[in-house]
């Protein structure tokens, strides 16, 4: 019921001319007003506020295993009839769902950061030329990874059914995270006397962008290969950061990437639990993905730049620096094996590419 205060908000009556008053205005039908699938819903904020997930009550919380409606009808609303179908490819829950998507969305919104103001850029200080060049080269490749993430995720989003809005909303935050990543690394490269370096070899990027078969398979490459590798690399860069600026960026990016990895792992877990036949395509994607990653890693540019950063310059790159690069690859292999175990993927260490195995690893330039 409207209160007196509400009544004051009503726009004052217009002063109409005689001609205006003669215009015939049809009586409002208001027949839409009693059309609701469920009315009287009063979701109350919980300890975490009024969260997206808490709205899943009554019919609004019914998340079907298949979304048959090929429109942009929000879940729980009454669909319009006669609407031309929208080209939505992903209409099965198993193809995109992760139970944690709504929580991750809230987390992404609440834990946001801004490179322009949350990073204390005044902490930057001049670095030896070799180290600055190496940092800028790594920033260039990280910018590139971020651009690919944006392009990839957004190219799939419009193909996802609106019935699974939690996933679509969370993925929107991952696109923003990736653009922020691009922004932060570009700013670092261009703020300390350096600039952008070489574009990386992009084998994994091409694989991801050309992955048109299914979102689950795309997530496999995006998360288990590109995402996990980037996460481990960022953690090592954090460990060897040269200023508070880099440390802050790496810390925040670690968190952003961790949310994407969590979504990916939980989606793959859900998909494998509800459609075990997906195991074959996931395994094939991993096989092709690792082959692409091997080619990328055989390119010396990223490897040498990382070794210079980890080794404190060109002099230390060949010994200490390259040793840490190998250690980083070992850590990535260990993280991948742990994730595979969690997902119960039939992968053994012997199946990993030689570049990721201590016993077989040979890199160009190795003696």
């Amino acid at each position: 019921m409207a209160s007196k205060r509400d009544a004051k908000r009503v726009r004052p009556a217009l002063t109409l001319s005689k001609e205006d008053l003669e215009v015939e205005v049809p009586e409002p039908r208001l027949n839409w007003m009693n059309q609701w699938r469920e009315w009287g819903v009063r979701v109350k904020p919980g300890p975490k506020g009024l969260t997206l997930g808490s709205l899943n009550v009554g019919i609004y919380g019914e998340i079907p295993t298949q979304w048959l409606d090929r429109s942009r009808n929000p879940r729980g609303a009454i669909g319009a009839t006669g609407t031309p179908p929208v080209a939505i490819q992903l209409r099965d829950k198993v193809d995109l769902w992760a139970p944690c998507a709504a929580d991750l969305y809230e987390e992404a919104i609440q834990r946001r950061w801004a490179p322009a103001t949350d990073v204390d850029w005044s902490q930057l200080h001049p670095l030896p030329d070799d180290i600055e060049r190496a940092i800028c080269q790594v920033c260039t490749e990280l910018c590139q990874y971020a651009i690919i993430d944006v392009e990839l995720i957004t190219s799939w989003q419009h193909q996802m059914a609106y019935g699974y809005h939690e996933v679509k909303q969370f993925l929107a935050t991952t696109s923003l995270d990736a653009t922020r990543r691009h922004e932060a690394f570009r700013k670092r490269a261009l703020s300390n006397g350096g600039g952008l370096g070489y574009e990386g070899p992009c084998q994994v990027s091409r694989l991801l962008l050309e992955s048109r078969g299914g979102w689950t398979e795309t997530v496999t490459g995006l998360v288990l290969i590109r995402g996990l590798f980037t996460q481990v690399m960022i953690r090592y860069l954090n460990r060897f950061a040269y200023s508070g600026v880099e440390r802050k960026i790496y810390e925040c990016v670690t968190q952003d990437l961790a949310r994407l990895l969590t979504y990916g792992l939980e989606h793959l877990k859900f998909a494998l639990a509800h459609a075990p036949d997906k195991l074959g395509s996931i395994a094939s994607t991993l096989f092709i993905g690792f082959r692409s990653l091997s080619r990328d890693l055989r390119d010396p540019v990223l490897r040498e730049a990382l070794a210079i950063i980890f080794g404190g310059g060109i002099a230390g790159a060949r010994t200490e620096g390259m040793y840490v690069v190998y250690e980083m690859l070992d850590e990535f292999a260990a993280e991948f094996m742990q994730a595979s175990k969690y997902l119960r993927l039939p992968v053994t260490e012997e199946q990993l590419p030689t570049i990721l195995r201590k016993d077989t690893r040979k890199m160009p330039g190795d003696e």
Partner: protein
Amino acid sequence: MAKFPSVAWFDAVRDIYNTDDELRGAGSGTCNCTLGVQVGREFFQLTFEGFECSAAEKITKGKLDDCDFYLHMPAKDWRTMLSNIRQNGHATYNQTLNTLDLDRPEGLSTSTHNDQYREDMFFRYNQTLQFFFNASARINTTY
């Protein structure tokens, strides 16, 4: 002055962490997890809810099962980390949670349940956890 490790020490850090707005933005923000802390043979549980660390309690080893993940180090390594924080106002270089997790052969963060969704909260909330331990720079710690 508070002795580490003890509930009184964690409560003293909580008081600082819960009242400093600067520790809530810039990639930190709300945090919802149950963190275990193993210091040698002593065990503690910290509860993070929203913007606060709402509780600290001493627990038995068996109660680590209830924690989303836990940080484990011998008492001397905790002391090294906290001394570094006290000296610098925040953890530096090889004493950040990230670096300790990478450098230690057995890692820093783990769980009893191997549920990766819960274990990965260490990475998702890393900034908050670092801010929390950094807040210990503002109290006098005895061992």
